[in-house]
Symmetry: C2
Subunit: 220 residues, 2 copies
Amino acid sequence: MLLSYTEENYLKALLKITFDSGVEKVGTNELASALDVKPATANDMLKKLKEKMLVDYKKYGKINLTSEGKKIAIEIIRKHRLWETFLYQKLEFSWDEVHEVAEQLEHIQSQKLVDKLDKFLAYPEFDPHGDPIPNSKGEIKIHYKKTLSEMTPGNTCKMVAVKDNSSPFLQYVVKVGLGINNEINIISIQEYDLMMVIEVNGQQSTVSQKFAENIYVVNK
Amino acid sequence: MLLSYTEENYLKALLKITFDSGVEKVGTNELASALDVKPATANDMLKKLKEKMLVDYKKYGKINLTSEGKKIAIEIIRKHRLWETFLYQKLEFSWDEVHEVAEQLEHIQSQKLVDKLDKFLAYPEFDPHGDPIPNSKGEIKIHYKKTLSEMTPGNTCKMVAVKDNSSPFLQYVVKVGLGINNEINIISIQEYDLMMVIEVNGQQSTVSQKFAENIYVVNK
DNA sequence: ATACAAAGTTAGGTTAATCTAACAATATTT
DNA sequence: AAATATTGTTAGATTAACCTAACTTTGTAT
Ligand SMILES: [Mn+2]
Ligand SMILES: [Mn+2]
Ligand SMILES: [Mn+2]
Ligand SMILES: [Mn+2]
């Protein structure tokens, strides 16, 4: 099926929302705000996507991707993450620069290009932000993740991904001395405001709860 | 200046026409047919591009790119040819497959991407079809070319580029055993229909005038 | 120098994607 | 259960990029 750039973004947003919230059902306002359009606009598009059998939805009801819609959405996320990996690994982009360009590149239509890119990158499993890259069959390796904010003093964990992909956040993470695969020791947590003192590579830093909620870790 | 995908294609088409025809002045119908739209459509866009000071043109007059318009058009051609080179050299695309994908990739907006790609490819001077790649300053190495059809029996020349970039033609070129940098001996030319017998790598082939007109060569 | 042909323009219409403003349905609170 | 707030829908308008059909200008040939 040939979809427009815009239609693709709606499908991707729907999948992203369910990934992030864990809930299958999505609302019109939620979708609209994720895409930075008005609810009326999203509503129009929803009718069109329903017509194309890519979403499951009825008036005043919740929105669901059909399996076909989901398949397409995963393919777009696959392309997005492969391109991010390419920019990061081959073209020396920093991890806070890749997302914006990948937002454009993910819409290039060429199955061959995706396959060849995947091969060129030696079939990477994770993108520069630690997010899993769906394979050519659309399978995603979802490994259970906790956030740094769930850790307690004395814990040691390893950073595996970031939740917030915005450039300011990513730059801040680097400034704190943190990166994917770094080991983190939780030194202490301030009761009052949940500020956390952590140690990475022998360097201590104090981070806010908001910050800690955006760092994915696995226990050591 | 932020231009739409479509506006970029109009600028590129204008430059291409002047390159191919050698003439600076372009007509509305010519432009429309190059873009596969109706003259009325091209006329609308011309007004818009004039407003943005990217083309020089007045009612019933001929069309010219302004220097700003030309600069942008060259940048798009630079991106197109860099991407073709990337696909060909790094992703193992064949030379008849690269153009179509590059038509999409040339519209990706990121100065950094272009610069990094150029560096990654070690600042290539020519694309897979032998066309010169403009450098980061917009300079193009135009080396004087003749077509194979201008050669006479006894001449030896070297193929440097192709004029027609269509997939069927490029595949045919390969079938004849021809490629960029191959040495060609002109064996004979049929007076009546200008069919040409050539020798490449010891292999003789007979090619039509139409074919010969689409192969660029330099004398040996 | 007309007449005809080719080239270019205008007017009016369509579709995709967006908006605002008004309205309707559903959910939450008192 | 009624009132209120939230959420979702509809109607009508706008813009970009396209179209067809009719018209005008320019170029060519008799
Ligand atoms: Mn991203
Ligand atoms: Mn990512
Ligand atoms: Mn090309
Ligand atoms: Mn080329």
